[in-house]
Amino acid sequence: MIVIGAGPAGIAAALEAEKNGLNDIVILERDKYIGGILPQCIHNGFGLEYFGEELTGPEYAYEFIKDLNSSNIEVLTETMVLDVNDKKEITALNKEKGVIKVKGETIVLAMGCRERTRENIKIPGDRPSGILSAGTAQRYTNIEGYMPGKEVVILGSGDIGLIMARRMRLEGADVKAVLEIMPFSSGLVRNKVQCLDDFDIPLKLQHTITRVEGKERLKRVKVAQVDEDFNPIEGTEEWIGCDTLLLSVGLIPENELTKAMGLDLHPVTGGTYVNENRETNIEGVYAAGNVLHVHDLVDWVSEEAEIAGRAAADYLNNKLEKRENKIKITPGENVTYTVPQTIEYTFQDKKFIKVFMRVTKPMEDVKVKFIYENQEVVSYPKKIVMPGEMVTANLPAALIKNDMDEIKVSIEKKVGENDGEK
């Protein structure tokens, strides 16, 4: 088994595959160290779901790295995968070994994601230094030991943006505002409270940046309120002086290699299509973690990668059995996407399939409903759903009939309550 990427997804997939009987596993990692982005996430909040306790990013990574160190899994760092094809042949470049060519019997894609840039959201103006992604700023601050700026504006209230607002503040920077184009924060609620509210950092909802100025170093940004169609409202513009603009405007799964294999990408997730084993449309090729869809909790990355790792082991050990009918899982009301998109194997000892989904808009007092031919299969009540927080619901194996071909997932107001949507 070849795993591409030694972040939380790649490591968890490899460990789980070994646990399930694979003994020839190699992880290829392009960076100098393993753990992916976790080593620079020195804040806490990791592990509540997976370990039942709150850890920092490095601590969370260490829990897995410990196991990795006592395993027989081979890890090659500073190894950049240059190409991979549908025959599972990989070409990589390693500093010491030079070009490496390997063929896997199974491959797990765990390349993670990258941050959206200024160009992805089209901010016009000058091109000075001082405009960088929140994640890059996090690396400078937490790993390299340097501050990218002193007067900071943050565009986007994604989790990294919120975390970095607090981080920059703790380092003595003046964080002037966090701007969010949507009418709600796109990060976790706890991050909004702990990172902005506790530090009196203003969050300006329905605001965006329409221009940046500064010939050499950033001098100021023009901020405007937006209408419902996200267009700047005339007369609301104001300039905010700052030397740094951090962008936390979304993450894009890094699927260049996936595309090179000939796999199609899902228009919403930006990841490839997978069945319940996180298997792609190429048999024996799996994808897990942020390369598949962007997660807000690493705990779920680990969980998802374990599904893939175990399936890869079962696949090579011929333990899997295809269903007669493939079941499609499709998004219904207020669901933007689901992972997986299909169920293709028999359940065997599995009690349920956990379906991950995101909502389009915030709603309160809802139920997550699985529907087959307009009939409810099962539903779960939820107090609140938000676009920034992934929703999960279990589809029980016992309720799946052999003739089902498509199950829809909807998030609906609870019956009898007509003011659920806020």
């Binding site: 990258r114 160009e119 000075p128 340097y146 501050m147």
Partner: protein, 496 residues
């Protein structure tokens, strides 16, 4: 003979390189921290066939003369260049008439291979073109080039042959004695010269004014969008719409590196340092490009930028000796097709220098040790797909630094970045590294490799990381060491 060239854009650098064939002292002075840092870095990167301008204009003559020189030149300087051909696309019978006129004009200029093609052939050449397009003028000799790599290649070659380049040095005045040039004053001191060549681009009117020559450059700004390489194969040729009075219109073209480029619009502005983009402009570029290729995606833009054209009211090049001061050659109004004309312009200047040397009794002989070619620096992305990996293995075996990929998006190794720092015209900024290696020019725009490039620059230039800049002067990447700001003002955090 001592010669100072002001401005290390493509024209100044080309002149420096051609002059370095001769036994003269050459000093190329540039106010920016790198060569190619003005107009030469932000343009369409086209080597025009030359059918646009009249044979009566200087720019028309220079373009036609220069186009054939590019194959050998780029081979010598190790600059990526491709003759991909261009198509001027017509939609109406009126347009067809115009295209025929252009063709006749081009043929009069001596351009070979021009052809008017109909819809069938046009759709074959460009399957994604607007279905309403009916005709096109096909020019097989048109090409695409990396304009900044050409400039760097020229400047490197000049230095290799003895020229000196002074970066980050601004000419503040000319030293004139008795209407005769004696040298230049700069913000770093005085430099003596027998002859000064004004190739200051947008600022060439200001330099000319120091000698008493009256010119006025009207900057014209053009905005562009550069797309991810995955969109690079949406077209094959350089596509032009029907041109207007002042501009060739908004083009759609592949870059020589395989990206898709659209632009420019054309707006007169006053500020010669204003290379900002505007939301209206960026929208206009999209609209113009969609007219030719309707399927151009709104997403997939890696970077948007703008460049300024140094246009004169005459809309032609002015290349002549100063009328007021002896020993000054002015090159003014070198806008499009300036890049396409660079070799011809440099040759014309050499003739003028020859003339100057004769009237002033200066020696001007070719040297016998001129090195015409630049060495090939290993670049992973330069190799052909089929044996790229095998070739690179050999490179890595020579030096392990080539085995460490720093820029993930463009696959640029540490070795390539170190080379860029050690080239004859050394890279000293993050942008300079980008122009020489493509590191950070990809889809993540330095998100991942920024900190690594900074570390390499700091290490090899032996400067503090805090001193590393994006493009010189105050464009530092980092502002302070960790905890430094708290120490400066410990009230800021303590009040919670």
């Amino acid at each position: 003979m001592q010669i100072i060239i002001i401005g290390a854009g493509v024209i100044g650098s080309a002149i420096a390189r051609e002059l370095s064939r001769y036994d003269v002292d050459i000093l190329l002075i540039e106010k920016e921290p790198d060569v190619a840092d003005g107009t030469s870095k932000a343009n369409s990167g086209i080597i025009h066939a030359g059918y646009n301008a009249d044979a009566e204009t200087l720019k028309g003559r220079m373009n036609v003369k220069s186009n054939p020189a590019y194959d050998k030149l780029c081979k010598d300087l190790k600059v990526p260049f491709k003759r991909n051909g261009s198509l001027v696309v017509g939609f109406t019978e009126e347009d067809l008439k115009e295209l025929k006129k252009k063709k006749a004009n081009g043929e009069e200029n001596g351009i070979e291979g021009l052809e008017i093609i109909g819809q069938t052939e046009l759709f074959e050449k460009e399957p994604n073109i607007n279905r309403d397009a009916k005709y096109a003028l096909y020019a097989p000799t048109a090409g695409i080039i990396s304009p900044y790599e050409l400039t760097i290649g020229y400047a490197d070659n000049a230095v290799r042959n003895g020229a000196e380049v002074l970066l980050d040095t601004k000419v503040t005045d000319l030293i004139i004695d008795n209407d005769q040039i004696k040298g230049v004053y700069t913000d770093r001191g005085e430099y003596k010269a027998d002859l000064v060549i004004n190739a200051a681009g947008l600022f060439s009117d200001k330099i000319a004014a120091m000698a008493g020559d009256q010119f006025e450059i009207h900057p014209r700004k053009g905005e562009y969008h550069l797309f991810d390489k995955v969109h690079g194969d949406i077209i094959n040729h350089t596509l032009f719409p029907m041109p207007t009075e002042t501009s060739k219109g908004i083009l759609v073209l592949p870059t020589v590196h395989g990206n898709l480029l659209i632009g420019p619009n054309a707006n007169r502005i006053d500020d010669k340092d204003d290379v900002s983009t505007t939301s209206e402009g960026l929208e206009e570029v999209f609209e113009g490009a969609h007219h030719l290729i309707p399927s151009i995606p709104e997403k997939g833009v890696i970077t948007s930028f703008s460049g300024l054209r140094a246009s004169l009211a005459s809309e032609d090049f002015h290349i002549d000796f100063s009328r007021q001061t002896k020993g000054l050659i002015n090159l003014i109004g070198i806008q499009s097709p300036g890049l396409s004309s660079a070799p011809g312009i440099a040759n014309k200047v050499i003739e003028m220098v020859q003339q100057f040397s004769q009237t002033n009794n200066h020696a001007f002989h070719q040297t016998d040790d001129f090195q015409e070619t630049n060495p090939e620096y290993p670049h992973y992305h330069h190799y052909e797909e089929n044996d790229k990996v095998e070739k690179w293995q050999e490179v890595v075996e020579q030096d392990k630094n080539y085995g460490e990929i720093i820029c993930r998006c463009e696959h640029v190794s540490r070795g390539e970045i170190i080379d860029a720092i050690n080239r004859p015209v050394p890279a000293r900024t993050v942008d300079a590294i980008k122009r020489r290696t493509r590191a950070s020019s990809g889809r993540c725009q330095a998100g991942f490799c920024g900190p690594r490039i900074l570390e390499i620059l700091s290490k090899h230039l032996k400067i503090d990381p805090l001193e590393v800049t994006k493009r010189g002067k105050d464009s530092r990447i980092l502002k302070a060491r960790s905890k430094e700001i708290i120490l400066e003002d410990d009230n800021k955090v303590g009040d919670h």
